[in-house]
């Protein structure tokens, strides 16, 4: 069974190799090859899952040592896999949603002449992401971590002829580097603290390390998570990443890759459990981001950017839950999975709308689309109900648990975090209702473009709608399936541990308040966008709206503080480099050159001079030998 894990990773990697090296002759079948390898990986995942279910919960972890990568005394870098319940959950999510999105892309990318390459990158992403979650040590995890970063970069910039896409890819890459530095520093700290970076030894020996060390490691891991999962303060790249093709936004920038930060925190739970300060920082980042993303999502007119704000916000919930410790880990992952379903479904729905609307993304130019694309409307609508936490659907079960756990943190912290989570739920309901109303309800607002092409909205082909339907089913039922009887919590408990939280008010009160604020949010949105026609040109809006449209001034902040500051630093470094470093280097070179020129003159071509030099040399040699004996 263990050998299948390697195969699981190898299948999409092989697919990527075949597609990227295969050249044009595979153009006609490339998308099928890519989908087949993704599906094969999914089948392997299901086989492993079935095998795992057959074992008792304590013995479900599979370990496989593949080979020693860098065996040096005192430094053992191994390539090995660890498949436990946590990894398994991710494997199924990644390969399952991944396969669906491969299928969807067959239709979505049909007219793109670089479709084969697109599928190659998608397969590369799957391989890297799977490596990330099945690695049995932090160093190998880092390989996967960088691999998904690479795939993300390539796919955001897939339409590289558009300067905006190229810039967005670069931005994502650069911002992610900051987080990656955090991860590499964390791994180095682990090595100096524990002498290893394998999960088992590191996480079991947290008791031996000082809290200060653990806090430092925890904060560095948090920095890494912030970069990859678009959490404040490294959130700025996610909105721009929507420049990539929509299936990419669904798979990488909603369902899987951006949740890698949550995986990292939950996987390192033992470190955070022993470092309360780092844990507090995690909850603060989560709470701030869930509000930040939600506010940004309210003001965006670009459907994908609104959804991107939402993604940021929902991951904020997960990070918040992960920061709560054992009372929250399982719920973080549960929300991660349900979010994977409904957010991927929402993005695919958005893609379907764009597909029918000549790639228009401005929701102010939609309106009334429910008549034209009924399947998209229904699947998108179910995803919408799930994300706002409509009772009975997926988001209801997972988000409610997180809000409960936040209150259960206790004390003033509990009230603040719980309040933030509750407020976030209200805003979520507001912005998602806004998206829903602006897209599918109201009057049609689209017009012919400057070339006179008027969009003819139509339903997408089956190859696109079927994945959307499957995801919609997941959005509806997954939460109930996981939540009722604490099935999911029991599944994960052997890995992450679990404690029941005790909120200061009863769980029922929390649930009722969650539903109430959701209704209020929906009501506000309906009042603003349902009862009045939506203006085609955005109104000026309040100060907050304008700020939110600019992503709450994140780029302005980064520009003033980081870019300007960085430029000044660079300039001074260049000055030092030119004057001091180059001075020394060039000076040395000039000295050597001068010396060489002088010494060369000794080589005058006369045998007599050479003989004299030899004679002198021999004399010195003899004298020195005698001198050595004398002293």
């Amino acid at each position: 069974m263990e050998n299948l894990i390697a195969l699981l990773v190898a299948a999409p990697l092989l697919g990527a190799a075949v597609l990227l090296c295969g050249g044009r002759r595979l153009d006609a079948v490339g998308h099928w090859i890519g989908t087949a390898f993704a599906a094969a990986s999914f089948v392997l995942g299901v086989v492993l899952f079935a095998d795992m279910l057959g074992k008792s919960p304590e013995h479900r972890t599979l370990m496989q040592h593949l080979f020693s990568w860098i065996p040096v005394e005192g430094f053992q870098a191994n390539v090995g896999f660890q498949l436990d319940q946590l990894s398994m959950t991710f494997v199924l999510l990644i390969t399952g949603v991944g396969s669906l999105i491969h299928v969807y892309s067959i239709g979505y990318m049909e007219h793109d002449e670089r479709r084969r390459r697109f599928f190659g990158y998608l397969n590369l992403f799957l391989a890297a992401m799977l490596l990330l979650v099945v690695a049995d040590n932090y160093l190998l995890l880092y390989v996967g971590w960088e691999g998904v970063g690479l795939a993300s970069y390539l796919l955001i910039g897939f339409w590289q002829h558009k300067p905006s896409a190229a810039t967005a890819a670069k931005k994502a890459f650069l911002v992610n580097r900051v987080g990656d530095m955090g991860l590499s520093i964390a791994i180095m700290l682990m090595f100096t603290t524990f002498g290893t970076f394998a999960f088992g030894p590191v996480l079991q020996s947290t008791g031996d390390a000082g809290e200060g060390k653990l806090t430092a490691i925890g904060l560095m891991l948090l920095l890494a998570a912030c970069g990859k999962s678009a959490q404040v303060p490294l959130q700025s790249w996610l909105g721009d990443a929507m420049e990539g093709p929509t299936p990419v936004s669904a798979l990488i920038h909603a369902a899987t890759m951006v949740t890698a930060g949550v995986y990292l925190i939950v996987r390192s739970g033992d470190i955070f459990n022993a470092a309360p300060d780092a844990q507090l920082a995690v909850t603060v980042v989560g709470a701030v981001t869930l509000l930040f993303g939600a506010i940004v999502g309210c003001a965006k007119d670009d459907i994908k950017k609104a959804l991107a704000g939402s993604t940021m916000s929902q991951i904020g919930y997960m990070v918040l839950a992960a920061g709560l410790g054992p009372i929250g880990y399982a719920f973080a992952i549960m929300h991660l999975v349900t979010h994977g379903f409904f957010k991927a479904g929402l993005f695919l729905g958005a893609g379907s709308v764009m597909h029918g609307m000549n790639d228009e993304v401005d929701m102010r130019k939609y309106g009334g689309l429910r008549k034209y694309m009924p399947i998209t409307f229904v699947t998108f609508g179910l995803g919408y109900l799930a994300i706002i936490g409509f009772p009975g659907l997926s988001g209801f079960f997972s988000k409610d648990k997180i809000i409960e756990a936040a209150f259960a943190k206790g004390g003033a912290e509990g009230w603040i975090l719980g309040g933030a989570a509750l407020l976030g739920a209200a805003i979520t309901a507001f912005y998602m209702t806004r998206v829903m109303l602006m897209t599918f309800f109201g009057e049609k607002r689209w017009q012919p473009d400057e070339h006179g092409n008027e969009p003819h909205p139509h339903e997408s082909p089956k190859v696109m709608t079927i994945p959307m339907i499957v995801l919609a089913v997941g959005s509806v039922f997954a939460g109930a399936f996981f939540g009722i009887g604490e099935r999911f919590v029991k599944w994960l408990e052997p890995v992450t541990g679990f404690e029941h939280g005790h909120p200061p008010v009863s769980a029922l009160t929390v649930t009722l308040s969650t539903v109430a604020v959701m209704v209020v949010g929906v009501g506000f949105a309906y009042a603003q966008y349902g009862r009045r026609p939506v203006p085609v040109v955005a109104p000026r809006g309040s100060l907050l709206t304008r700020a939110a449209r600019r992503d709450l001034l994140q780029d302005d902040f980064n520009h003033v503080v980081l870019v300007r500051g960085g430029e000044h630093l660079t300039r001074s470094l260049v000055y030092v480099d030119h004057t001091l470093v180059d001075g020394v280097v060039n000076g040395t070179a000039a000295t050597m050159g001068g010396l060489s020129g002088r010494l060369r003159k000794l080589q005058n071509g006369f045998a007599r001079s050479y003989a004299v030099s030899m004679f002198g040399g021999a004399a010195v040699l003899i004298a020195a030998t005698l001198l050595m004996r004398a002293v």
Partner: protein, 549 residues
């Protein structure tokens, strides 16, 4: 008169008459040398008796067969355990058959084989009067520019004597690192030096500069030999013997019977120190260590390039072998006297070679200074005085000789109307015209510079490691600095070849015959194999690293 009667005239009458023991010669163990010397003598006979037209082919055939057979004999001896368990002294104590000797003999023979290939190359120069010609003068004795020279060229003569000369040189080189007494050492030195002086003088083109190089080499070589011989005399005075083993015993103070005739001088340390230094000096001259290096650039530049390549590789191997044996077998008791001096020589050699190379403008002179710097690096391994030091030097010599022959073989390919285009400015943009040749040369330059994945790195790493472990940290630091300086001029040539515009009147790259291609190909292959997977060969050198005493 009967033989005993004659004998009695030569010895003291008081001594009882003894029968002369016929010297016991282990022909099997000496077969590598004997085959080569025999083939050289055969080559002389070929010059005398075989018609001129077919001499070239017969000579090349004989040389290749002899060297291959000799190499097979070396491998056979090594496989038979003569490098390790059965190592011993042959030929009445004159020649050692042990690991270092066999390893170095094997290296010299392979270098010699590649040397024959480059000597025999006849496709580079345009045919003269319908006859294909090689790198050697039509008739070496004719005055350059004279009518007799023109006549010789017109008649299509070539100097086929180079092949027996080469074989004699190789024969001497095979004995040199195996010599186990000072006289054998000296004779081997002369046996391989004299043919090399001649070979330097027989270039087909630029004959004056070739003859000048030969005369300089001969004069300075003779000067160095005089030092060596004087040193040998002093050592004899010190120990009463020229045998390495006996001298070592006297140094250690373990010798018992003192010859009455030498009682006055025996054990006088001044004789030992001065004599030892003078013999070492002669060897340092051969390896081209500063300050005995000044012949190197002039000779390397003037000699026919195939000769330069062979000489640069094989002489270094032989001379370092002899130096190692001298220092490890004869003078280990003096370690604390010679080590500091050799430190100094290694340092000035590394730095001197690297620094002066920076301003060179001729590729052959550049490679000459490079070889001086490399002599310094190898010296760093020599002075480690440890088994690791020996094996690292053996490995370095093996790696270096292939790089050197290959690099000089490439130099023969780049030509213009005046023959080889050795001025660096003419190499500008070579990478654009002949990417393959430039790439191959770049590989050799990177190996010289000691860049990882080439044999140069493995070799340099080995000698520096040995030096560092023996406590010579300062040498290693200076060695690394010298490497950095040296990397400058190697990389500069690469930059020149690949990143400069080709000049309109630039040289052309001649397409060689399979002979030179083989030499270059083997050079590249060995360079890369020793760079990527050096372990097997390091182990081989490690096994061969013990001198018999």
């Amino acid at each position: 008169m009967s033989a005993p009667a004659v004998h009695s005239l030569w010895t003291m009458a008081a001594d009882p008459i003894e029968k002369i023991q016929a010297p016991k010669i282990e022909y099997g163990q000496l077969s590598p040398t004997l085959i080569v010397i025999g083939a050289a003598i055969l080559g002389v006979l070929i010059e005398a008796f075989v018609p001129r037209r077919s001499r070239y082919y017969v000579q090349v055939f004989v040389a290749i067969v002899a060297l291959a057979a000799s190499f097979a004999a070396v491998v056979g001896l090594a496989a038979g355990g003569y490098g390790t368990t059965k190592a011993g002294i042959a030929a009445m104590g004159a020649i050692a058959v042990d690991g270092p000797a066999l390893f170095l003999q094997g290296t010299i023979l392979l270098a010699g084989l590649l040397g024959v290939f480059t000597f025999a190359e006849r496709r580079l120069d345009p045919a003269a009067h319908g006859k294909r010609v090689d790198s050697f003068a039509a008739q070496a004795a004719s005055v350059p520019g004279s009518d007799s020279e023109k006549a010789a060229v017109k008649a299509g003569f070539t100097t086929t004597e180079v092949f027996p000369l080469l074989l004699f040189a190789i024969g001497g080189m095979l004995i040199f690192p195996a010599a186990n007494d000072l006289l054998t050492l000296f004779i081997a030195l002369e046996v391989f030096s004299l043919p090399l002086y001649l070979l330097c003088a027989v270039a087909r083109r630029k004959r004056l500069i070739s003859q000048e190089a030969a005369v300089k080499y001969f004069l300075l070589g003779a000067f160095a030999s005089a030092f060596t011989l004087f040193g040998i005399a002093l050592l004899y005075g010190y120990a009463g013997s020229v045998s390495y083993a006996t001298i070592a015993q006297v140094v250690d103070g373990t010798v018992q019977n003192v010859s009455p005739a030498l009682a006055g001088t025996m054990g006088n340390d001044a004789l030992l120190l001065v004599g030892g230094a003078m013999v070492v000096m002669g060897l340092l001259f051969k390896v081209g260590a500063v300050p005995f290096h000044m012949w190197t650039p002039d000779v390397y530049q003037g000699a026919p390039t195939p000769v330069t390549g062979f000489m640069a590789a094989a002489t270094k191997v032989a001379a370092f072998g002899a130096l190692l044996r001298l220092l490890y077998v004869v003078l280990p008791g003096l370690r604390w006297d010679w080590r500091p001096v050799m430190w100094a020589v290694a340092i000035v050699t590394m730095l001197g070679g690297a620094i002066v190379a920076i301003t060179q403008t001729d590729i052959k002179r550049l490679l000459a200074y490079s070889s001086i710097a490399h002599a310094g690096f190898i010296l760093a391994g020599v002075i480690a005085t440890s088994p690791d030091g020996v094996s690292s030097v053996l490995f370095y010599l093996g790696a270096y000789s292939f790089v050197t022959i290959g690099a000089f073989a490439v130099v023969t390919l780049v030509r213009d109307a005046g023959g080889e285009a050795t001025h660096l400015s003419k190499w500008a943009g070579l990478g654009r015209r002949s990417p393959l040749v430039a790439a191959v040369f770049a590989v050799f330059l990177l190996a010289f510079a000691g860049i990882p994945l080439t044999s140069g790195f493995a070799g340099k790493f080995a000698v520096f490691k040995a030096a560092a472990e023996s406590g010579a940290g300062a040498i290693v630091v200076i060695g690394v600095i010298s490497s950095a300086i040296a990397a400058f001029f190697y990389i500069r040539v690469i930059v020149l070849m690949f990143f400069s515009q080709p000049r309109p009147e630039g040289p052309t790259v001649a397409v060689p015959s399979p002979l030179t291609m083989t030499a270059i190909g083997v050079g590249v292959a060995v360079t890369l194999v020793l760079g990527v997977a050096p372990q097997y060969f390091l182990d081989l050198a490690g096994q061969a690293g013990v001198f018999v005493r």
